[in-house]
């Protein structure tokens, strides 16, 4: 069953039903001039039922999510019949134009509902392999081997002169790789992700020294917001790799994370210089990866935009603000990924992750 509290799902249903009605109106009244009238007539009948259904499903969602698929479908079809008959009776008592036979209305409703169920089923199927695929991809694109070996080299240079700093750096690396290698399909608090990013940047600073200047703006950051793990780190890695490393002079990477209008925003900025107009393919891969994971977790509710300003490259990430508490009705946080239907009960220890980090 799709998640009826998800904006993307609701939007899809609204668009689909109104589209079906528009086509049906055209079939009934092939003249383009009078077609809008036919459409409004039919919408007047279809829309109340549609909205009533959506409201009911929104309320039932937590309970519905716990039922088996076949029971869910039965309930949904039963609801369609129920609301259809109920509204038809109500409408009969108003001045509105005659909606046509009861049986015909209910049948049309059932057909549309069935079509939508089939559509969401197909969509879930299409996305399921993508979850595994995305994870695989995620692990491959995660950390550049370039970074790993350069960091090890930098830590080695510290061992003799500054053993304590070498220790801290190895601890940072251990933390970073622990996160990289664990199962990252659930959501985790934003504070954890930010901490990880700080450790990552400390390692980059170790080898780049004064060339890397990091500015954090996290005063309005909702630390408890749930985000996909490793959603910011690859973006920062891009910022360092494409923004700082090609520069001979020092450059600033700025991170601005804040809460606004029900969403968590993260704006990352790094210096950018057009050199022969070429843009690295590695950048696009990391972006596509982050974008795909956002889509899997939040569908249309999260966005990722990139902008090239005068001499800076900016990435703007928007994620709906959800916390452990607000996510509770859907089950525990780690199950959020199932929101869009049947994610495969994949073995979290599947051998996908092995070897990829090391090339």
């Amino acid at each position: 069953m799709p998640d009826f509290r998800n904006l993307g799902t609701v939007l899809r249903i609204l668009v689909a039903v109104n589209g079906v009605v528009a086509v049906a109106a055209l079939l009934r009244d092939p003249s383009l001039r009078t077609w809008p009238i036919a459409w409004t007539d039919m919408v007047a009948v279809a829309e109340p039922q549609l909205l009533l259904m959506l409201a009911t499903l929104y309320g039932l969602q937590p309970w519905l999510a716990r039922q088996t698929y076949s029971l869910g479908v039965t309930i949904l079809l039963a609801l369609t019949v129920l609301t259809g008959v109920g509204l038809y009776t109500l409408l009969g008592r108003t001045e509105l134009p005659e909606p046509g036979g009861l049986l015909r209305n209910v049948l049309l409703g059932l057909l549309t509902a069935w079509g939508l169920i089939a559509y969401f089923r197909l969509r879930a199927r299409a996305l399921s392999p993508a979850i595994t695929e995305a994870r695989l991809q995620a692990l491959q694109a995660r950390i550049r081997p370039h970074f790993l070996f350069n960091s090890i080299n930098a830590v080695l240079s510290l061992v003799r002169t500054d053993p304590r700093r070498a220790e801290t750096s190895l601890e940072d690396m251990a933390d970073l790789f622990r996160v990289l290698m664990r199962d990252n399909r659930g959501l985790a608090p934003l504070a954890d992700e930010v901490e990880l990013c700080r450790q990552y940047l400390a390692l980059e600073k170790l080898r780049l020294g004064d060339r890397l200047v990091v500015e954090w703006h996290t005063n309005n950051m909702p630390a408890d917001a749930l985000v996909p793990p490793l959603i910011l780190q690859p973006l920062l890695e891009n910022a360092v790799y494409h923004g700082i490393e090609p520069l001979t002079e020092p450059g600033i990477v700025s991170v601005n994370i804040f809460y606004k209008g029900g969403d968590v925003h993260a704006i990352l900025r790094n210096p950018y210089r057009v050199t022969g107009g070429q843009h690295h393919a590695g950048n696009k891969m990391a972006m596509a990866n982050v974008r795909e994971r956002l889509a899997l977790h939040f569908d249309a509710e999260a966005t990722l935009e990139t902008r090239v300003k005068a001499d800076a490259y900016e990435v703007h990430l928007r994620i709906p603000y959800r916390t452990e508490k607000s996510a509770a009705p859907h089950g525990d946080a780690t199950n959020r990924r199932d929101a869009h239907g049947s994610a495969p009960p994949a073995d979290p220890k599947a051998p996908l992750r092995r070897g990829t980090v090391y090339g």
Partner: protein, 262 residues
């Protein structure tokens, strides 16, 4: 039998990487007489140091901002006594494959002391890497052209070049306030810097950035042709009949329009 020590220059844009190599070279000094003559954080810094001190070996990182290690290896061949170059790299699969194919020496970072020592011991028998070998490596366009002037190597930033003109054996490099002579082929330069320069004549490449416009000229015998007007200098360059199409092409080039507006 006191052998003269091996003089080594370390080039890497990352300070910790330089320090690491210096530590390792100190360790190697016990087994092989050597002296670190200096450290450079960039390719151009390295060229400066190399002119001041005689060096036998340059240990250079491949991936560096500004001038990368491969470009450095090219330029230092113009020195009176070019040193041997050994590349170091943390990870660069494609480059490493190419290095293997061309049998060019490289060390993987982190470098092991034994591995470094073995490489150092081979140095006296090695010759500097040839240009043709370097050509086989997948390199991006150079940032500088190097010319020899009064036995010194001068680096001319490609960004500052107004035009390149082939004359007899040499190519004249024209910048806003200098002229240099270069021994290279114009065709090869065109291939390498095609995004930056445009061919206006059989013997001339002009930087798009320095084109101010075009002017129609009629000579005494009644033949008309176009001349390129350059930014910041009164000199003009003729456009050959064959290359006339570039007048229209560049006329509506948004890159040029933006550069001209500045």
């Amino acid at each position: 039998m006191a052998e003269p020590p091996l003089r080594v220059l370390i080039v890497d844009d990352e300070a910790p990487a330089r320090r690491r190599l210096r530590d390792l070279l100190d360790d190697c000094a016990a087994a092989l007489p050597l002296a670190v003559v200096g450290e450079a954080g960039s390719g151009s810094e390295a060229i400066d140091l190399l002119q001041a001190t005689t060096t036998d070996l340059v240990l250079t990182d491949i991936h560096m901002p500004g001038m990368d290690g491969i470009e450095l290896a090219r330029h230092l061949l113009k020195l009176a006594q070019p040193p041997v170059v050994i590349f170091t790299t943390a990870y660069n699969e494609h480059a490493v494959q190419a290095f293997d194919v061309s049998a060019i020496d490289y060390l993987m970072k982190p470098v092991r002391m034994q591995r470094l020592l073995a490489a150092l011991q081979k140095v006296p028998r090695l010759k500097p890497v040839s240009v043709s070998k370097l050509d086989e490596l997948p390199a991006s366009a150079r940032r500088f052209l190097s010319v020899t002037e009064r036995s010194r190597v001068v680096l001319v930033p490609v960004d500052e070049i107004v035009y390149l003109k082939a004359e007899l054996k040499y190519i004249t490099i024209r910048t806003a306030d200098h002229e240099y002579l270069l021994e290279e082929s114009l065709t090869r330069l065109e291939q390498e810097f095609g995004h930056r320069f445009v061919r206006v004549h059989r013997n001339c490449l002009v930087s798009r950035e320095f084109i101010r416009g075009f002017e129609r000229c009629v000579s005494d015998d009644g033949d008309a042709h176009w001349e390129v007007l350059l930014k910041g200098m009164p000199e003009t360059l003729p456009v050959s009949r064959r290359q006339q199409f570039i007048v229209r092409e560049i006329g509506r080039d948004p890159y040029l329009a933006a550069a001209a507006a500045k």
